[in-house]
Symmetry: D2
Subunit: 413 residues, 4 copies
Amino acid sequence: MMNFEQSERSLAWMERVRAFMDAHIIPAIPTYHAQAAAIDRWTEIPPVFEELKARAKAEGLWNFFMPPSDHDDEYFTSPGLTNLEYAPIAELMGRVSFASEVFNCMAPDTGNFEVLHRYGTPAQKERFMLPLRDGVTRSAFLMTEPAVASSDARNIQTAIRRDGDHYVINGRKWWSSGAGHPKCDFFVLMGKTDPDAAAYHQQSMILVPRDMPGVTLVRHLPVFGYDHAPHGHFEVLLEDVRVPAENMLLGEGRGFEIAQGRLGPGRIHHTMRNIATMEVALEKMCRRLLTRRTFGKTIAEHSVWEERIARARCEIEMARLLCLKAAHMMDTVGNKAARAEIAMIKIAAPKMAQQIVDDAIQAHGGAGVTDDFGLAELWANTRIVRLTDGPDEVHERQLARMELDKYRAELAA
Amino acid sequence: MMNFEQSERSLAWMERVRAFMDAHIIPAIPTYHAQAAAIDRWTEIPPVFEELKARAKAEGLWNFFMPPSDHDDEYFTSPGLTNLEYAPIAELMGRVSFASEVFNCMAPDTGNFEVLHRYGTPAQKERFMLPLRDGVTRSAFLMTEPAVASSDARNIQTAIRRDGDHYVINGRKWWSSGAGHPKCDFFVLMGKTDPDAAAYHQQSMILVPRDMPGVTLVRHLPVFGYDHAPHGHFEVLLEDVRVPAENMLLGEGRGFEIAQGRLGPGRIHHTMRNIATMEVALEKMCRRLLTRRTFGKTIAEHSVWEERIARARCEIEMARLLCLKAAHMMDTVGNKAARAEIAMIKIAAPKMAQQIVDDAIQAHGGAGVTDDFGLAELWANTRIVRLTDGPDEVHERQLARMELDKYRAELAA
Amino acid sequence: MMNFEQSERSLAWMERVRAFMDAHIIPAIPTYHAQAAAIDRWTEIPPVFEELKARAKAEGLWNFFMPPSDHDDEYFTSPGLTNLEYAPIAELMGRVSFASEVFNCMAPDTGNFEVLHRYGTPAQKERFMLPLRDGVTRSAFLMTEPAVASSDARNIQTAIRRDGDHYVINGRKWWSSGAGHPKCDFFVLMGKTDPDAAAYHQQSMILVPRDMPGVTLVRHLPVFGYDHAPHGHFEVLLEDVRVPAENMLLGEGRGFEIAQGRLGPGRIHHTMRNIATMEVALEKMCRRLLTRRTFGKTIAEHSVWEERIARARCEIEMARLLCLKAAHMMDTVGNKAARAEIAMIKIAAPKMAQQIVDDAIQAHGGAGVTDDFGLAELWANTRIVRLTDGPDEVHERQLARMELDKYRAELAA
Amino acid sequence: MMNFEQSERSLAWMERVRAFMDAHIIPAIPTYHAQAAAIDRWTEIPPVFEELKARAKAEGLWNFFMPPSDHDDEYFTSPGLTNLEYAPIAELMGRVSFASEVFNCMAPDTGNFEVLHRYGTPAQKERFMLPLRDGVTRSAFLMTEPAVASSDARNIQTAIRRDGDHYVINGRKWWSSGAGHPKCDFFVLMGKTDPDAAAYHQQSMILVPRDMPGVTLVRHLPVFGYDHAPHGHFEVLLEDVRVPAENMLLGEGRGFEIAQGRLGPGRIHHTMRNIATMEVALEKMCRRLLTRRTFGKTIAEHSVWEERIARARCEIEMARLLCLKAAHMMDTVGNKAARAEIAMIKIAAPKMAQQIVDDAIQAHGGAGVTDDFGLAELWANTRIVRLTDGPDEVHERQLARMELDKYRAELAA
């Protein structure tokens, strides 16, 4: 029966995460930034970050992003939080830029981990998944390519050619997030094994150790002037990269199938972080407006801001509910049946977040575009969400077609 | 624990209402309009409507809008549907303009009925509530005034002056919806008993039989060219209208207190009808786009429409969830604690509905602004929702202030 | 050299029109409405209107919409106002719904008159144009059809078949504005003479006297509940309507060619009336906001309205300048070279007007949707402009393609 | 008489600037960026830039931003381009980020130069204006302060206290653009000389050599991750900075008076650069859409992009016309009478530009947020325009009040 309160299990985990963040992460933010400013952020990690991570692991606040799974085995047992139960925790972590990683719950490792857990062979799990599970390594996901509109994934051109007991990979990827992280160990790469197969069976996914000969990190890609080190986004060149045939995931031609399953939970996590962003921005906006005065009153008393605050609050509440419903459907009827809802949150939340952060910037005047309140970087991070995992237009197309399909048959009759 | 499925009870009522609508109401729509075209709509009711109403009453599909109540007595026993359980039924009924009234679940009678059920004396209930309960009479709610900005309800000027064992009422009201209905029996009127009292204790609510000497229906108010007969919206002049002192509701100066309680469920009903409107408009839009062709393809294949359909679907889902959450909060923590959520749906849903109906009109070309598809009238009905029960700006102000209040104390410290 | 002041000639005409409106039209508005309320508006004309028209004609304020023309002949000599000079006068007249017609400068007669002036044979001019010139008759333009998406004009299906020295017309038109006017004398009709010709040479235009056998006014089409009598918009059925072959305009297959030329000036006139609408709405909004108080101040002091007023003023100024520039280009380089600018004003102004009138309605509260301030009817009139002469989407498509064409050749190279 | 063609003089200068840009500046862009990448951008200037500047000066393409002036003297003779004539040249230069400075036509030096030209004493001109005129030095304008909402300029707190034949300045400024440029020679600083004077007579402007003891450049302020070196935006601390009394501009208490005059032409320049930004973004958007394919066609053929391109083209044309009209009014009736139009372009153009650049980013997918197409930096530069010289809200307030003032007196009567 309809209910809007979280489960006991979720509330208990939320409480633990919140307590950890209040006690350890939030107080460490200044230290984190000070240490980051003093090191080469592309090759070193701020020591306080490693301490936080070790502490979270020791307290068992670790890898809890994994939904209940029938793929549990000796390598990993899911902690059992459903997508619906995990979602509010993702929001909680989303309030601090580096918090997810403290708990080993960060993209793209979560998606790659789930792929390995679900589809990996024992050998693949041992080699790639275990170090990821333990937070010893990180990984990247190589899909988008600079030469084509990757929003139509069938456009992807990177070639994966069988050669004896190896595959030889040639291509150029970009927006390979995390590929340059000092701990990055391997890539999950999507590429074309058979250009002559049916449209959705040409692509495969394969595991590529980062340090293979032929792999070149061409450059990192800035996002509105921010570098996002040490994670970053990279352009990666693959020239005659030879990986063992056993690195193929699931089988040739099954790349789309894996991609489908991989994206659902990630969309929930992304959206809940979007929602955290909106909450952070709205809070900062309110605080600023209450403490600055123009024309004889606080700016908060100018009704043009009432309209913006009210809209922000409405949108946050609506987006959160929709995301939770999508998570609930994934848990109860499966990712495929939840396809429309997953598309909806991908469409709706980033646009809302972009507007709310923009309003928060406006409320801060010049301070809004500097790094003083974190809003400019938040804006940049928010803006890319309308492009990652497919631009708005692709999801709108998909959702509209599902809507139209409700009437097509009847009208054709 | 969080759940997005309706209760068994709600599903059962939904099923009954849906079956009744499919079997009786929807097939009767052409007859209803044909009969309406042939009568004086201000004084007569289409016979088919009375038949539908009698049938619904006979089947017990009657007055089920009332939430569980500790005010039950010999005059009325609540059927026990919570606000959350009733909400999807309100949406169902909202798909046909006259359906709510078939089930005796139409505004403003629902609100007036609830006021009487909660605050009425036995005598008031016998005289006013029982015929309303039985669908024999209808009623109106007289609050807004043409001479002042009623969005600030303290502006209301109509005088209610005590004179012996009567009250004498003088003032001019408008947007008195239903005041001209052939069955309208009485008004719940808000007016000022004590201009010298504290701001929120000047106003009272009193019961005024429509046929009292001194009551004049000045004119009906069109809404974008529509008259909304037989219900309609009226300008009502009250000149030295003398009503017995026992018609006062709850006590002098308690008008705001009653208004507060009265509005909550009504907002849920209104919003769920908005959502029905959006669904109807989106369905019509999709059907039209699939059946018209320009430039070598159906209009549905032009991606500018994909964006609009996708946005519509996202907004409908989000608005519905927020409304259901507001209803759930009213049921569980009370109307006062749900104040923010109630404001949110009042702000968010009508704007969305306005846009979606406007898009549907655009999709129909010239046909959209005629009466052929009902979209123009739907638009008019939708547009007024941004003004009824207070314009957007008043609710945005209220919601923004609640948001700002979260930080005020801390910042003042 | 760039200059933003109107010519002496335009200023002099503006002054005459303004003086006439101030002296005669504006004072007559109440009489006009009172008389209209007392007659059958579909068959009778308010007497005051005929008086105003006679007076305007006597004063020589008549037919001045016609730009300088090399088609001048014994039937008509253009008064010589360029499109640029006429535009501000169109705005002036646009402030009162019936003013254009007082000066014999109303659509669709202006467009039909220009077609006849430019392409008509002497016989066609004598029969159709002269009474129009003298304000004795009115006319309609029959293009749009209910059965197809007329936004792609190639879809038009009405058949014009040669039969000896006649043409036989069969089809169904709608949105035939003015077809039901008591003085309507003839239609300019677009239809298909040769379904096998190249796409843009299938259609022709032909003159059809209204009272021909086989012409049926099926019904009038309401616009958001308004009937727009006596002008109105009609659905017209043509069944085996036989007109003499000499009624063909310009020649078979030249319908698109005529339509192209016909639309330019009309778009300027429509847009300038849109601008008048925006000015009227903004003025009413400001006046209302200054005279109502909420929460201790006039509503005008709530900054949410400052934003709307400011946006309205910016948009009005920008739309007017763009329209004047389009008019200037039509005058100097021709309608074809001004194609982009004409599309731009058709796209931009109606959307702006819709928003500004909507804001004005919101500013008036419930009064905004009634007939008390004329805003609801203004809204309805504004909304249809986004559909008449092709919906927004068609003009956006056309304009975007012109923009893209700037780069196509180079990129293809 | 109204005309939309530029004057011969303007066209001739446009042609010279365009030719210079085509021949020298545009080919030098890669060299400029390569050199910039190899130096300390805060202390060194790319050599190619100095070469371009020397060449432009030698060709007499220098300081032509100054409108005709009765302040001409032995120090400077205005080249005589009106604001209207200069505007399209500002747009031309605005297409390349560093082009204005090549021609010595860059903010804030243009404004400071004009202040000195108009109000400077001979001594002030010799010391400060001549090197600026010759491109030997640069300058900054110190107004905004971090501690107050500077959008209400009366809030400005920096103290300018008379002490014998000196003024002593104490305060903290920020957004002091150009203060850190290696050639920055002096500041025009606004501060409070008399806190007890009437509200608009408390502030004064004074000339402060940058290298004065007590002046500290605290830090540079990033804009969405970009540093804007070597120009940059700075936080500047002034501690007991003693400047000679003769550095006062115009006289104590006349700061607002100078500010008023200073801002007009700058707004034209800024807006024309906004328009250049929109044109650049639209061109890049079109090119990208034409060269990428999804779902079987170029993205340009997806109609969702037609709508965006069309809107962009409409807005660019409208904004440009409004800006030219504002410039024309400044030239013909003066900055004060053009106050409304100047506010309008400040309100309208930056919002449009923000949307168009955002759309262009979306059209480029991931490439849009990197530095590959310059769009991300363009977005950042565009976003701050909604905050510089007062946020949108302040100008909307001012414009709305002018609009409301049209009716106030009449309604009060």
